[in-house]
Amino acid sequence: MKSLLLVLLLSLTALSATAQVQVKDPWVRATVPQQAATGAFMHLSSPADARLVSASSPVAGVVELHEVRMEKDVMKMRAVPGIDIPAGKGAELKPGGYHVMLMNLKSQMKEGEVVPITLVIEGKDKRRQTLEVKAKVKALTTTGQGETKKH
């Protein structure tokens, strides 16, 4: 009986470690009518080490995790297998860094609309959990700098 309780308690804490991943200021860059791809940006934080391993969205045929880097004045974009969310430190998905790449868009992303995105988060114990995010579509001209300070 005692051990059963312990197992229950342990599994509960393991569950909460991934459940406590928090998303702040998720946004998607608006597109023009025939544009087939855009990026989603957000801040992820977690009390325990976690990792964003994949994402999906009903608005896009293909969703990937990407990283953009400037290498000697060359812009390089590549797919990454996951984005680490270190405990307490979090992960910033922002222009000039990581983004959730939404490709084969099924419709235009219009400013002000809300885009649902499902994130798959993996805890240190490899346990996976999904997180539903509602990202706001922001103007194509959004720079991503000081976005959190605005309100």
Partner: protein, 195 residues
């Protein structure tokens, strides 16, 4: 005799360098005045007309390469160009921003028009077939490369903005990591020097 004949040479050199007095403001970008590259381009506008630098006489041209599948660096460059235009005030009307796609397969004329207009109606998108795009990039010593990203592909590319005077002469290559203010400051310096 020898001593005196030196002087005209020094004066000429000063005129060419335009900086002997020390009061000439410096550029934030890379001064490439007189370069034997980046001389011209021949590309299609969204209406299918062939455009070259001669079409923009009287305008300060800011040109850069990019692609609309780019969620990050390209919209940042276009947003900065819009901000530069605003910072220049009335002089902003003398600016022509040109976006050359390195992804002509996906960036159709219609898409290119919509895309640049979303930033500023005066911005112009240019495209052409793969060969012409390659030639143009080579002329501007720009690098680009199609790379797979899982399901799709990205086009890695050098992210300089090239600045031309109203006679179509290349003066500046501005790095991507600079903000709108140094861009606008350089344009003002260039406008002073070339007006």
């Amino acid at each position: 005799m020898r001593r005196f004949s030196k002087w005209p040479w020094i004066l000429l050199l000063c005129a060419a360098a335009a900086g002997c007095g020390g009061d000439e403001p410096k550029f934030n970008g890379i001064d490439v005045t007189g370069a034997d590259w980046g001389r011209d381009f021949r590309l299609q506008d969204p209406d299918g007309r062939t455009r070259s630098l001669a079409d923009f006489r009287g305008k300060y041209v800011m040109l850069f390469f990019g692609f609309t599948h780019c969620p990050d660096v390209c919209p940042t460059a276009l947003t900065r160009a819009k901000e530069v235009k605003r910072l220049l005030g009335a002089d902003g009307e003398r600016l022509q921003v040109i976006f050359v796609t390195v992804d002509p397969e996906r960036d159709t004329p219609v898409l290119l028009r919509e895309y640049t207009a979303a930033f500023d109606p005066s911005f112009l998108g240019l495209r052409d077939d793969t060969d012409a795009t390659k030639r143009t990039a080579a002329e501007f010593r720009a690098f680009y490369e199609k790379v797979p990203t899982g399901a799709g592909y990205a086009v890695n590319h050098s992210a300089f903005t090239y600045v031309f005077d109203p006679q179509g002469r290349l003066h500046l290559a501005m790095p991507h990591l600079q903000s709108a203010e140094p861009y606008a400051a350089d344009l003002l310096v260039l406008m002073k020097r070339t007006s």
